[in-house]
């Protein structure tokens, strides 16, 4: 009986549950003995020229070892945007602001103290003087440059463009009976992992840097630090402690990490930093932040003939990964649909706000949210059930790769089955019947049913050399095994699942298998964990390495047993080779490691990215007097092919669903008209808590991919991608009978109430605030 596909409890958990994980701020290491503590001073204004930064008073404060400003670090390179050539390099971020600050929270100075408590005291004494400039916040103004340009040397606020804006066809919608267009918002959110950013740095006598910091791939982090410090990657060892969540925002390295490393070198002693939540909310990269214009046209029979998506991406103050996101949005623009004609274009603009980066889904949730909104807008316009419109337009089932007009090669998919499974699990006809009843009765609390169909790209191969991952598997004479992986888990459970994969091949129990990652001296190459790549590439690599190890071991066993390799059978139950037909003539695997190391390193090369898909159905109740929407049910299909550990796969889906739902009705990072953040604490930023979501109903579907021997696609982001539009559509659906066609996310109570007030069939709000809509007394 294979262990694969079974609910193996995590080997990681006992430690986490008893003594707790060891996160960067927890690390105790002799190399960090006597460390000083770094505290950042940050800009209180969104856009200004820095006249001066006076640290003299801070230097006199108790416990202050040093203080530095941008001038001190002026010869460090800038943090260049990713995807060289695609994004304007003049919009690079300095590690400490030099002449200009471009967002509230941008770091302008550091104070370094003996004790962490002294840093905040000293920071208050730093006197920074600013010549305030008008902030550029509005996306249209940013695009036109009319209210100012963040980087005068660039002469524009446009950081990147994707798609062919000049090539948009004026006649794309010719022949459509119905055309609907709308500009919608995919709002800025904060990834807000529970562990904020941190770093610990120590330079050795050999001149090498050892850096501990939370990350999503130590190798990429090492390279990013090397770039920012202007040194060779070989001069840096990155060690990855436990990471308390990342969600795309802990890839590579941030300027602050480089500053901490620089301080340690400058002072000749180790340095540590742990950011506050306020810093995290304003200075860790944000997510999403797209304004989208969707246009959809087709016939009254529900067939969509054409779809256009036009995107303006807010990059924030500096071009980071966020500037590139729309390229992924464009790639996935048509989603799972067989539109006859589709176009998408985007431009990215900088604004005086927190830089935008990857956040769970990174560009693909935006694509799904746009097309799913468009489908519902179209359905409302023609008066058809949105499920039927989807049925009419989904790509039919395919098992051979299907190339879309946007160049995405979908590996396998059965989108209609996903939708039908989700609708059936939700009891869709019954829900609609309930909705009819409540509408007829004019209930104050109305029922909304929303759905989404999605497909998304995982394992896109952004790492050097295209989609691939390495694994090293070693069997030890004592019967244990060690795996080295280039992935970088931060909650996904790779220690357990990679052990399961190796165990399945080697016959060694899971609890005797140790998995290591995140130390660049031990594992110099790796693609990290993100883009839902790990199982399909990293896991496949572990399996491949295990098989190759058995092949190596077979040769040794043949020698040992004086038999021909072809006559040997490997019995995983006993973890031993035996001569076929003569089980007594056997040699256990660990014995073959006694004379010579039994270890294999392999690289699994994926033929390309894979495309998990699914369908979500959300059921909400909306109080039409207060506008408050409550999520009652989430029913999902998230098909990521073969499931290796259902317990962990469900966990990934749960987490993704919750984050996606939170964007639909709760979370938004907001600025005022001066560019001041208004949601810079967990008291103000409406981070989802347990009372706002129900338990989720997960339906099972697994359509394997042929792209790796596991048949697995990526599950990590899928839940997020499907849930956001399902919940948004549900809230709007609750009010559709009153003529409400759209509500931007988050559908906060006030937004919902405003939509109700201006809807054509809106209830009349009497002086008591009670809603009535003519058909009954309030």
């Amino acid at each position: 009986m294979s262990i694969l596909g079974t609910r193996v409890l995590r080997t990681e958990d006992p430690g986490f549950l008893t003594t707790g994980g060891v996160y960067t701020d927890d690390v105790v290491d002799e190399r960090l003995a006597g460390a000083c503590h770094v505290f950042f001073v940050r800009s209180p204004v969104a856009h200004a020229r820095i006249r001066s930064v006076d640290v003299s008073a801070a230097l006199r404060a108790p416990g202050v070892v040093a203080a530095f400003t941008g001038a001190d670090l002026a010869d460090l390179p800038l943090l260049a945007p990713p995807m060289p050539g695609m994004i304007n390099e003049r919009m690079s971020q300095p590690v400490l602001a030099r002449d200009v600050v471009r967002f509230v929270g941008e770091q302008v100075a550091v104070v370094v103290t003996e004790d962490p408590y002294q840093g905040e005291d000293a920071a208050e004494l730093v006197d920074a003087d600013y010549d305030v400039l008008p902030p550029v916040l509005d996306l249209a103004e940013a695009a036109s440059g009319e209210s100012g340009v963040l980087f005068p040397e660039a002469g524009t606020n446009v950081a990147a463009s994707f798609g062919d804006a000049a090539g948009l066809q004026a006649d794309l919608f010719d022949g459509c009976d119905v055309v609907v267009t709308r500009t919608i918002v995919n709002q800025r959110v904060a990834p807000a992992p529970m562990e904020t950013r941190a770093a610990a740095a120590a330079w050795g006598e050999d001149g090498r840097l050892t850096a501990w910091l939370p990350n999503q791939g130590a190798q990429g982090t090492r390279d990013a630090l090397a770039d920012m410090l202007g040194i060779e990657p070989a001069g840096i060892r990155v060690i990855t402690p436990d990471v308390g969540g990342a969600f795309g925002a802990k890839f590579g390295a941030d300027p602050e990490h480089a500053v901490v490393c620089w301080v340690a070198r400058q002072l000749g002693r180790p340095a540590r930093w742990a950011e506050t939540r306020n810093e995290n909310l304003v200075a860790m990269t944000h997510g999403r932040a797209q304004r989208q214009t969707v246009t959809i046209g087709g016939g009254r029979d529900g067939t969509v003939a054409a779809y256009r998506l036009e995107i303006v991406q807010d990059a924030g103050a500096y071009a980071r990964f966020g500037a590139f996101l729309p390229a992924l949005t464009i790639l996935m623009a048509p989603g799972p649909y067989a539109f006859a004609r589709a176009e998408a274009v985007a431009k990215t603009v900088v604004t005086n706000t927190t830089p935008v980066g990857a956040y769970r889904g990174a560009g693909r949730p935006e694509a799904t949210a746009a097309v799913e909104r468009a489908i519902d807008l179209f359905a409302a316009e023609i008066g058809m059930d949105p499920a039927d419109v989807r049925r009419k337009n989904l790509l039919p089932k395919f098992t051979e790769p299907h190339t879309t007009a946007f160049g995405a090669v979908y590996d396998s998919g059965d989108y209609a089955a996903a939708l039908e499974t989700a609708l059936a699990a939700a009891g869709y006809p019954g829900l609609r019947a309930q909705q009819v009843k409540r509408r007829a009765a004019g209930d104050v609390v109305q029922l909304g049913i929303g759905m989404s169909c999605y497909v998304e790209i995982t394992g896109p191969g952004m790492e050097a050399g295209g989609p691939r991952e390495n694994a090293t598997v070693e069997v030890h004479p004592d019967g244990s095994a060690t795996i080295l992986t280039g992935t970088s888990p931060h909650g996904q459970g790779h220690a357990t699942v990679w052990a399961m994969l190796a165990s399945d091949e080697l016959g060694i129990p899971v609890d005797k298998i140790t998995v290591k990652w995140g130390d660049t001296d031990l594992i110099p190459e790796g693609g990290g964990t993100g883009g839902s790549r790990s199982l399909q590439q990293g896991g496949a690599a572990v399996r491949q390495a295990s098989r190759e190890l058995i092949d190596v071991a077979r040769q040794r066993a043949a020698d040992e047993l004086e038999a021909s390799p072809a006559d040997l059978v490997f019995d995983t139950g006993r973890s031993a080779f035996a001569v076929a037909g003569d089980p007594e003539a056997s040699v256990p695997l660990p014995k073959l490691a006694e004379e010579e190391q039994l270890v294999v390193r392999t690289v699994f090369i994926a033929p390309g990215p894979t495309f998990p898909f699914g369908a979500h159905v959300a059921v909400v109740e909306v109080d039409t007097e207060t506008g408050k929407a409550v999520l009652r049910r989430m029913v999902t299909v998230d098909d990521a092919g073969t499931v290796i550990n259902p317990l962990l796969a469900e966990g990934q889906r749960h987490g993704g669903i919750a984050q996606g739902a939170a964007q639909a009705f709760l979370e938004e990072f907001i600025y005022d008209a001066d560019g001041n953040p208004l949601t810079a604490s967990f008291a103000d930023y409406p981070f989802l808590s347990a009372t706002e979501v129900p338990s989720f109903e997960l339906a099972h579907m697994a359509t394997p991919t042929s792209y790796n021997p596991l048949g697995a696609k990526g599950i990590g982001e899928a839940g997020t991608i499907g849930s956001t539009p399902a919940v948004q559509n549900a809230i709007i659906d609750a009010l559709a009978h009153l003529g409400v066609r759209h509500i931007d996310m988050p559908a906060s109570p006030q937004r919902v109430w405003l939509a109700l007030r201006s809807a054509p069939g809106a209830p009349v709000f009497s002086s008591t605030g009670a809603a009535s809509n003519g058909s009954r007394d309030a």
């Binding site: 986490f16 003594t19 529970m194 308390g244 931060h490 987490g655 008291a683 009372t691 338990s695």
Partner: protein, 158 residues
């Protein structure tokens, strides 16, 4: 100033600044780093410990306020190498992923079940309203607390 309190059953006496937050005392002075700091506004609960058996957010207490009292952290739950029923339930139900919220979540759950041994799902969710998790979507955390309640009831009434 000197402060005396009991941490995980051990009496301690330490010299502390009045402003030393209890969470930092536990982490830096006692070496008990399971409780984490996750926010600045008493919102997230990652720092939750028990004070005289009641759940509190140790980031919003001064160490000196705990003088003469008993603090229990996640490290103090398991006895003789056996996981506490709540810890066992979290493992069983996959109620943790990155683990950062987990010690606080577990302590909040222990406190919740001490006051309400048979909570409904709604009561569990409300009881954990002060503990944020970004990874699990709360689904398995709720299952874990309900399972722990069942397990404890089974122990009491086998």
């Amino acid at each position: 100033m000197q402060v005396q309190l009991t941490v995980n059953g051990q009496a301690r006496s330490d010299e502390v600044e009045p402003r030393l937050l209890l969470v930092h005392y536990l982490r830096q002075r006692c070496g008990l780093r399971a409780a984490n700091v996750g926010c600045d506004t008493t919102s997230c609960g990652a720092c939750t410990v028990l004070l005289n058996g009641r759940s509190v957010k140790s980031c919003t207490m001064l160490t000196v306020q705990a003088a003469g009292q008993e603090v229990t952290t996640a490290e103090g739950l398991a006895a003789d190498g056996q996981l506490h029923p709540v810890q066992q339930a979290f493992r069983q139900e996959h109620g943790l992923q990155c683990g950062f919220c987990t010690p606080g979540m577990v302590m909040a759950a222990v406190g919740l079940l001490a006051e309400n041994p048979h909570p409904t799902e709604a009561e569990v969710r409300e009881g954990l309203e002060g503990n944020f998790c970004r990874c699990t979507g709360y689904h398995n955390i709720v299952r874990a607390v309900l399972a722990a309640a069942d397990a404890t009831a089974a122990e009491v009434n086998p």
